[in-house]
Amino acid sequence: MPAESPDVAWERLEGVLARVERPARYIDSEWGAIRGRDGAYRAALAYPDTYEIGQANQALAILYQRLNAEEGFAAERVYVPWVDMAAEMRKERIPLFSLESLAPIAGFDLLGITLPYELTYTNVLELLDLCEVPLRAAERTDDHPLVVGGGPCAYNPEPMAPFFDALLIGEGEEAVLDIVRTHREAREEGRERAEVLERLATIPGVYVPSLYDVVSDGAPMNARPPAPDTVVKRAVTDLGEYRPPVCGVVPYMDVVHDRVAIEVLRGCTRGCRFCQAGMVYRPVRERVADDIVREVMEGLACTGYDEVSLTSLSTTDHSQLEEVVRRLTSRLESTGVSVSLPSLRVDAFSVGMARLLAAGGKLPGLTLAPEAGTQRLRDVINKNVTEDDLIDAVSRAFAAGWRRVKLYFMIGLPTETDADIVGIGELVRGVLSAAREAAGPDRGSVRVAVSVSTFVPKAHTPFQWLGQAPLDEILRRQQVLRDAVPRKGVDLSWHDADVSLLEAAMARGGREVASAIEAAWRSGARFDAWTERFDLTLWREAFASAGLDASSIAEREFGEEDVLPWAHISCGVSPDYLWREYERAVSATPTPDCSFDRCTGCEVCRALGIDLVVGGERRGAQ
């Protein structure tokens, strides 16, 4: 790879940028970006989508901060160029470069790629190809960077396994340093790539796919020593030991989640049975109020943002949230700075917190997720909210000034019947009526947005053994939904069922799916998560060319004794617990949250050797 100075590289790039959409994606120069680190070991951290989608990713921000704080290491950022830029780069023979130093990625020591969502998989291949790095790990040599994956989709790594040298399962705060130090040390000793990979396989949480052979469909993977039979996720004991990246990169262009984000807690043990995040991020670990308030104030001062979000899977569950909100509203009074909560529980307390945060300013969006239309189905999925909770929360919100609420539901859930879908319509009618009553004379301006997605059974959840409902059936249920939901005052939207089918095929498939992903990329699939770019016909052909059928994989059911494609990966929650939860689901029996009730036996604390970290008394179920 010819080494160019950043100035020479910029001159080559300048002409190209004049011809592409949104050149701000490629120019670096942002406040907070870390440049000029004299790291002997260089890591490129990639998000497999455009800059504006990936820039705010908190996991990459943590890794960027950790690596750049370490003597002898440097990290830079890279995103997938949009199709116009990729075409220009191929035409001008410009290999994919890092933002900070405009250096070709192929010359880095490590390329880390997070896997946030199945529909970004072809973008990973696009990224590798633009980097001029062989797509498959087996074709890489000592001269290529080590390609390491991670993120939520790594919990079923198999469909992407052949493209990665290694994947980190779980949290990266500590593991990222173990990986880069081990890599550097092995290379300094002159070890070849295969030996480097063997060494990496001994790091807890690191999965090296090339050391695991597929024996036959339905049989356990054959792990070759020193690789362990099961890779157990990494998790940090105490979030408070790791300062979040408060002074991160401040982008120029409009990006998603364009604000300071402070992670106030990690993990959620509410136990919703459809939710993969709720299972794989356990146990709950809270940051303490003092740290949160200090980090928010520092983050605002050093970034210049006018908004901060207190992020987590379920922020209103934080035991000290009320104190945090009180202190922040008092300190931020008359500054024009707003504080937001990304997810609200369906309860009056949550609405009260959101109201307090708005204090005199503009009310934030109000989003509530009942998920299912009937109590029976909410008990099946362990979404422990009642219709009364929802109506009460909405009444209080509209009495306090809100005029719009967004409700999230799913269709295609296990045991669902048409009565459950009709139940969504009835629940929406109840919400609309309560909202109008609370709004009084302003009742005409009340709007209820209803967003309905299609259930995708995910790995490591109690529904992992179940198949997705067939596409035709989903389309029929969507029609039932359209007929059931009132029209006046309601904005109904639903996710494209084609996209959910592909998501399920990639979330539930094994290593054989990799060939279909590669075939789809070779046929031009890119940015599949962008509605205008998604093409199911192309994907069906790609699966067929690999001798597979996407629907069969999405709809495949497993028995308790079957070996699941992700059986060699453990998030710490025991399969026995997940099966028990599945059985309780079938009998519509709820399970409480262990963070304010007794232990429910998921075994994550024992498996990981860590415990719940809760700063005060948590609010129980309503």
Partner: protein
């Protein structure tokens, strides 16, 4: 206008890689610089309070600038030199401020007052010589009007109004630079790169506009043009 507020005018540049930012992106970036600087900025008293900030005429994506301006209202008097230091420390060097001063509340807004802009348009390519480009520009300007299409819209410019000064071409680097002064108005602003692109095509040069820099923005007054700061 609140009686205890101060109107501070800041001159800044837009150079290097950030020339590829849109006007909206520059405005947002500088608003964040003001927040980081710790200056006591004033906020609007509305349903959704915002920093009181106003910018001069927009710059297109790709156009660099040496002397742009924004006004920010503060709730307390901060000596200009001190404000300048605080802003410089809180701003990426490519958007760095280079002058700060207070202006009277009664002064018209930058958006309305600034009507002249000077540009350097750098062109390169086969056949791009000082003589050829000057001749082609003179011919285009001599025709009195320019028809351009931008984002699917047709626009016609009266060049005697849009170009208040002679356009001069000089050799620079391996190409030429044309210095173009345009008058901005409600009917739209002539983009100097478009004028030069039309001229290059008339001259049958195999060249292109490579870089555009707005070198100055001016307020027209009876005594002649003056800088906003």
């Amino acid at each position: 206008m609140a009686p205890n507020e101060f109107r501070m005018r800041v001159a800044y540049r837009k150079t290097g890689r950030v020339r590829f930012l849109s006007h909206l992106e520059v405005m947002r970036a500088l608003e964040r610089s003001v927040r980081r600087s710790g200056l006591p900025y004033a906020v609007t008293h509305g349903f959704s309070p915002r920093m009181k900030l106003a910018f001069g005429p927009a710059l297109p994506v790709g156009t660099a600038a040496l002397r742009e301006h924004f006004d920010v209202w503060t709730t307390r008097y901060v000596p200009a030199a001190e404000a300048m230091r605080a802003l410089a420390d809180a701003t990426p060097p490519e958007l760095a401020p280079h002058a700060v001063a207070y202006v009277a509340h009664r002064e018209p807004s930058l958006g309305a007052a600034v009507t002249l802009a000077e540009y350097d348009v750098y062109m390169e390519g086969k056949g791009v010589t000082e003589e050829a480009v000057q001749r082609a520009l003179d011919t285009v300007i001599g025709s009195g009007r320019l028809d351009v299409e931008h984002k699917g819209k047709q626009k016609v410019f009266d060049l005697s109004r849009s170009l208040p000064k002679e356009v001069r071409v000089r050799p620079t680097g391996s190409g030429v630079t044309a210095t173009v002064t345009t008058r901005m108005g409600q009917e739209g602003s002539l983009r100097p790169d478009m004028l030069c692109t039309v001229a290059l095509s008339r001259a049958r040069c195999d060249g292109a506009v490579v870089r555009v820099t707005r070198t100055d923005t001016l307020i027209e007054e009876e005594e002649g043009p003056r800088r906003p700061l």
